[in-house]
Subunit: 382 residues, 2 copies
């Protein structure tokens, strides 16, 4: 169960047909199991970052410059929704992810992440999480439930990707090392370089791994992460997996377990920008740190990821689909237990910011452009 | 410890220099960690299949048509050694692998595998294992220690690759399904589609997994294999790993554990020749069967494999290097525990039959040609 109940119910009511209209790109990608048609669902977006599936084929999309829009089932863009948080738009900062509350059907509640400033207009920022009620063209009752500590200068590595656990109780949020705070990714007294787990109301689950440990922040689920850009729940196990950017090489797929250390910046398969191994990194295992399940070296600049469990591509069920910015590919990973046993890459020829499975079983992608960015859809070729 | 003691001692006495002379091919392969120079050690071979490292930089190479030759350290080919077993040369049958006994330094004993006929000249064959003492230009005391049961018509899928355990006590031999005996790969009353474990003298270890089980052959270590073409011991663990050909896709890397079923022909990632999934296969897990650690789909027609633990390519230590015939590549796999966490492919542009690490830490390859096949060597570019 990957989506809010309402979306699934809608999907089932409509059968296997697509919920959203689209026009075909002049592109079919041949793959091992299917010929994949790339369709355009919507265009005219500016740096979209997150996507969520509303009932009746509507989409909710964030744009980094601070806009949240509804895309109608016919692909038309709605006006920006009023009442979003004030975001600091700088470099990688801005409005980031959007997710529906597990009880969206009754609550109309959504969740947002963004780069939150210390004071209005300040460049001292960190990643924050809020929920709000989606009304007619505006958000109500915006409530910030988490702010990454500390806020720092610089506009890099916000992380920001969210996912709810299957039972809807827990919200996982992937964060980043904020670019120049690498060493703090190994410390537990900051949220720098961590992945956190909250209850949906923002409270801290008392069985989080560092609750009660002096000097450790209780929201932390796992640490030693560089910049988490994709996160999803594995359908067969309920486990949360995540992808993160490496330092020019060493993009990672991890299976973050509670309390564990994923090594950044002490171990990585990447290298320093400009070439050469990073002075403080090694490329192999080290006691007390977890190696990734998979790494992409050279980097594809991994962005979003989704597990696939739809019917449109039955042979992909259980696979991870991870998107690449620089790589302009979708990497399809076959999973057995905690290991990848095969990778296939599909050349999409767009920088892809996010990939999510829709309630119709098709795959929805956001392209990463400042001008006329698109929502694309992958479906089996006719 | 990957080689007979004498070879390692020789290597250490000579320091890090190559034991064998060679001329550079006009080819350097750029890889993640090293620029790799491809050198020609020897040429003029016909369908070479197996290689072993003698003291003082000499090589022992099999040719499928029934010749065993010494290659001198200057690359010159010796005359065929007399006294090899009579082989049935047909399709994939012939003289196959060669290995030095763990006590070669004192015994001069070698091991051979080949396609053994029921009666001289018969097309009813199976894979056999023998040892013999390597004398001056001839073999003495040739003793067959194993014959795959049953012998059948047809010349495909002999397996034949051998490796000794680190302590020298056990000999592992990878076999095949003989091409038209697929279902028997699931049965324990034949050696079809199995990997076997013997003592060096050919006796059956009494702790083999099926010893004492009625109707099961005691030599079997693991089963459900299609056609094992490469086998090696992992330096850090002493565990034996193996690669096998899939049916047009689904080439596999496995970590064969005692008594376990590797699924052929019931599960595979390959497909029927001519396209389409094999009628009796599925591409995912099934109770009681092991998925591969890694699969290559589309197939590279995987042949030999070696773990790397040399000093010439320090960043490759612990990696698997697997060769491809059709793929004409070397696949470098980074290993963490029982999983592959990264693959890099190097285009060698030859069909490669075997890859082994030499005692000098360089990699030795056999090309697969009927005319002027070569021993190639990979070393760091100057
Ligand atoms: Ca890591
Ligand atoms: Ca198998």
């Amino acid at each position: 169960m990957k989506f809010a109940t309402v979306a699934l119910a809608t999907s089932m009511a409509l059968g296997a047909s697509a919920l959203v209209t689209a026009t075909a790109e002049a592109k079919t990608i041949e793959t091992r199991w299917a010929d994949v048609e790339v369709e355009t669902v919507a265009e005219g977006l500016v740096r979209p970052w997150g996507i969520a599936f509303l009932p009746e084929g509507r989409l909710l999309v964030t744009e980094m410059e601070g806009r949240l829009r509804i895309i109608e089932a016919d692909g038309s863009l709605g006006e920006p929704i009023r009442g979003v948080p004030e975001v600091t738009v700088r470099n990688q900062g801005g409005l980031l992810d959007v997710a529906l509350a597990p009880d969206f059907e009754t609550s109309n509640r959504i969740y947002l992440t963004w780069s939150e400033a210390e004071t209005s207009g300040s460049n001292v920022t960190s990643t924050a999480v809020a929920h709000a009620v989606l009304g007619d063209g505006e958000l109500h009752n915006l409530t910030t439930i988490f702010s990454q500590y500390p806020k720092v200068e610089g506009g890099r590595h916000y992380g920001g990707r969210m996912v709810f656990s299957h039972d809807g109780r827990y919200l996982y949020v992937g964060l980043g090392d904020r670019g120049h705070q690498m060493k703090e990714s190994q410390d537990l007294d900051s949220h720098t370089g961590t992945l956190i787990r909250l209850y949906a109301n923002g409270e801290v689950p008392q069985d989080n791994p560092f609750v009660g440990q002096e000097g450790a922040l209780p929201e932390i689920w796992s640490y030693g992460h560089r910049n988490i850009q994709g996160i999803d729940i594995q359908p067969s196990t309920g486990l949360m997996w995540a992808v993160e950017h490496g330092p020019q090489g060493g993009d990672e797929l991890n299976l973050p377990e509670p309390g564990k250390n994923y090594g950044w910046p002490l171990i990585t398969h990447g290298e320093a920008y400009g070439g050469g191994q990073m002075s403080e990194t090694i490329s192999f295992n080290k006691d007390g740190m977890e190696l990734p399940v998979w790494h992409w070296t050279p980097s594809i600049a991994v962005s979003g990821m989704t597990f696939y469990d739809g019917d449109a591509f039955p042979e992909w069920q259980g696979n991870v689909l991870a998107a690449g910015l620089r790589g302009q590919v979708i990497a399809r990973l076959e999973i057995d237990g905690n290991r990848v046993i095969h990778e296939e890459r599909m050349a999409v020829d767009y920088r892809i910011r996010e990939i999510r499975q829709g309630p119709d079983g098709y795959l929805y992608l956001l392209t990463d452009e400042r001008d006329n960015a698109k929502v694309l859809r992958l479906r089996p070729a006719q």
